[in-house]
């Protein structure tokens, strides 16, 4: 039990809220209470303030820590290159406890107490959905890095964006052709019995059908479950592929029990790496995954054909070739998702520059400037790959990776095209009033 997993990691990088506030007070040369700084006085010289709604406690804590690290690295790079519109950028962190009720309060706190320019960084879907009304009411641009389909469903409001990570509906759709062609035609799905699982339940069968394959069974596991063997008999014997998405701490148990149940005589396995984010692929019990395939947003392990931008990004965030923290091979990152923080911040930068953003009175302009964005080229600002952005549904679409577990590493064997994941928009945010 060392401090490597400690909670206070970020205090060492001078990235706590207090440090941020101190910097703010010093930077603006104001002696007033930092929470009540008036913008009219602080314009142009004062830093741009980004409120970071972080999962520091609660079920999302493992993700929250890496989201904070990636964000710190991106902000450092942006500030070193001159900031946004010539102003430095500062991040103020508030913990939402991975709870939607507290999430909404935190957005309110950013809007009315810290008076941040935007709110950013939320991952868990229920927190995004719980916080979205508060963002809309406070007319606060809210940039999430959640991969949920909630933003693109156009059920939220005009102030909510997801420009840095592809949504799960698109991810699933782009996986189907590969699964049908390479893994097998008869698929059994195992997924958690909550919303994240439902996206997989609802979008995979039609996507596979279009490729001539079939989902022959769907097994929904209750979120409170900690043991899975009793559900395995429901997997039909003719299953060729088990498509699994498990989220939460019980995933190791799930894989281990699957291993004990099947032994070496198993169907093909295809999973979403969400299950194993922040988990060492070489943990005892995971040998069973050898030879199986995973979706990855951004690859955890360094690949031979990595671009310079990808290498620079990995170095900036501080992860080694195995996707673990530099200097601590056991501290595995959430590489498949956290790149979204980096890319989202660069989208915010671009949109703020396009809008000539000066302060909170320009928030509506910022929303419109973000909606006007069309595509993001691969490069240092978008190391995961190129993306297109649909301003009507506030969602970006990028390439996806399929990786094979081989010799204790994840090796990318297939990259999808952006077109594989496009679908008909379900609505249009731009018709809503600002």
């Amino acid at each position: 039990m060392t401090d490597k997993n400690g909670f206070f990691d970020l205090s060492k990088t001078g990235f706590t809220r207090r440090a941020a506030l101190k910097g703010l007070a010093a930077g603006a040369g104001l002696a007033m209470a930092p929470g009540f700084v008036r913008y009219s006085q602080a314009q142009s010289s004062a830093p741009i303030k980004i409120g970071f709604q972080s999962h520091r406690t609660g079920i999302g804590a493992a993700y929250g820590r890496w989201y904070e690290k990636t964000t710190a690295a991106a902000i450092k790079a942006i500030n070193a290159a001159g900031g946004i519109n010539g102003r430095q950028v500062e991040v103020i962190i508030e913990d939402d406890g991975t709870d939607p009720g507290r999430g909404a309060e935190v957005v309110g706190k950013f809007a009315t107490q810290h008076k941040t320019d935007i709110v950013f960084g939320t991952l868990f879907s229920h927190v995004v959905i719980g916080s979205a009304p508060a963002a809309g009411e406070n007319k606060m641009p809210y940039f999430v890095v959640s991969e949920g389909h909630h933003v693109a469903s156009t059920k939220l409001n005009r102030y909510v964006f997801q420009p840095g990570i592809t949504d799960v509906k698109s991810q699933i759709q782009s996986m189907a052709p590969w699964i049908a062609a390479n893994a097998g035609k008869k698929v059994t799905q195992i997924f958690p019995d909550f919303a994240f699982g439902y996206d997989h339940r609802d979008y995979l069968p039609p996507a596979l059908k279009a490729q001539g394959a079939d989902v022959i069974a769907q097994i929904a596991i209750p979120p409170t479950e900690s043991s899975f063997t009793k559900y395995f008999p429901q997997i039909p014997a003719e299953t060729e592929v088990i498509y699994h998405v498990m989220v939460g701490p019980a995933v190791l148990t799930f894989v281990k029990e699957l291993g004990e149940f099947y032994g070496s005589n198993r169907p093909q396995l295809f999973g979403f790496i969400d299950s194993l984010e922040a988990v060492d692929i070489n943990s005892p019990g995971l040998e069973f995954l050898d030879g199986s395939h995973f979706w990855e947003g951004s690859p955890r392990y360094a690949q031979p054909d990595d671009t310079e931008a990808q290498k620079a990004y990995r170095a900036a965030v501080g992860i080694d070739d195995n996707g673990a923290a530099v200097g601590d091979p056991k501290d595995v990152s959430t590489a498949a998702h956290m790149f979204g923080c980096w890319e989202t911040l660069y989208v915010v930068k671009k949109a703020m520059e396009d809008a000539g953003y000066k302060g909170p009175e320009d928030r509506a302009k910022l929303v419109e400037a973000t909606e006007a964005l069309k595509e993001f080229a691969e490069g240092p600002e978008h190391p995961q790959g190129p993306k297109t952005f649909n301003g009507k549904i506030h969602q970006c679409f990028g390439i996806q990776n399929i990786s094979k577990v081989e010799g204790g590493k994840l090796k990318v064997v297939h990259k999808t095209k952006i077109e594989d994941g496009l679908y008909e928009p379900e609505g249009d945010y731009t018709t809503q009033a600002l």
Partner: protein, 320 residues
């Protein structure tokens, strides 16, 4: 406990309500919004206090009553397109019906068994929300759209998403429930409830039907909690399953115990206290739960009857 004159008791409570009204114009924006939320949740705590404080029944399942109001109102607006008042009424009805059914079943037990049974029913309620995800949105929950959260009276309309309107709506509900609990507590019925708490057998022997008195208390308590849940859905626009989880059954217990069980103003003070401790400490450290934990233990060591309960015991014996 000496008895306060009606003027003194009602005077104090009206004073508190007046203070909250004045605060609306004085508080900085952030605390203004926070206090609106606290008042809505204090109603939840007052509902809990009805049963726990005055009847002595410790339930660990009140999140389901809050949830019944939350989902009753939320689903009525989102799925059925009802108006705000109709949705609020739907939330209340759901709470009343659910608490009647739960009361009929759970009141067959007492003590710790009552606590466990209510907890299990609440767990069933929570799982049912997940199971019927097609309508409830499952664990992600649902957003009540902003345009639907408007109270229309003919030509004029009140936008519940406006901070001042929201604050006043929360204050209105809070005041109503506060004065109602005060009236109940001071009534003949309130005294019967306390008698049940102190000695149920004796009360029974005096000729009171303790079961129906307790059942009525469960329904009143559950309906008040549902009112809080319905108000939460309408004022803050989010309906989610985490509000029906066991954590939200423990919270009102905590708020009531902190503020002082069986005091009319205790629930407000307990809710206020917990919120501010979390809000202030979370600004300094991410380990704020540690501080909350320590604060709880210190409070219970040095203020065993809760804040207001201790004040009543030591100084102001007349507090209702």
């Amino acid at each position: 406990m000496s008895e306060a004159s009606p003027a003194k008791a009602y005077g104090l409570h009206l004073g508190v309500i007046a203070l909250l009204f004045v605060l609306s114009f004085l508080l900085p924006e952030y605390y203004h919004g926070l206090l609106a939320r606290i008042m809505v949740l204090a109603v939840f705590a007052m509902g809990y206090n009805m049963l726990f404080g005055y009847v002595g029944l410790l339930s660990l399942g009140h999140a389901m009553f809050f949830g019944a109001g939350l989902y009753g109102a939320g689903l009525a607006i989102i799925q059925l397109g009802w108006s705000v008042p109709a949705a609020f009424a739907a939330g209340l009805c759901c709470g009343a019906v659910l608490s009647l059914v739960i009361g009929l079943l759970a009141l067959r037990t007492t003590g710790v068994a009552f606590m466990i049974v209510t907890m299990m029913f609440a767990q069933v309620f929570y799982l049912a929300i997940l199971y019927f995800a097609a309508w409830t949105g499952g664990d992600q929950g649902m957003v009540v759209p902003q345009p639907a959260r408007v109270l229309a009276f003919g030509a004029t309309s009140l936008d519940l998403t406006d901070p001042t309107v929201r604050y006043m709506a929360a204050l209105g509900l809070f005041s109503l429930v506060l004065l109602m609990t005060l009236a109940i507590v001071r009534s003949r019925y309130g005294r019967v409830l306390v008698a049940v708490r102190e000695n149920e057998e004796r009360t029974k022997m005096l000729g009171y039907d303790t079961f129906s008195n307790k059942l009525a208390a469960v329904v009143v308590s559950g309906t008040i909690c549902a009112a809080s849940g319905a108000a939460y859905a309408l004022l803050f626009g989010y309906v989610g399953s985490s509000f029906a989880s066991v954590q939200y059954s423990i919270l009102p217990l905590l708020w009531v115990l902190l503020g002082g069980a069986a005091t009319t103003l205790g629930p407000l003070i307990g809710t206020l206290f917990m919120y501010y401790v979390i809000d202030v400490t979370s600004g300094y450290t991410s380990a704020y739960l540690l501080i909350v934990g320590i604060a709880l233990i210190l409070l219970v060591l040095f203020f065993p009857k809760g804040i207001l309960g201790t004040i009543r015991q030591r100084w102001l014996g007349w507090l209702p």
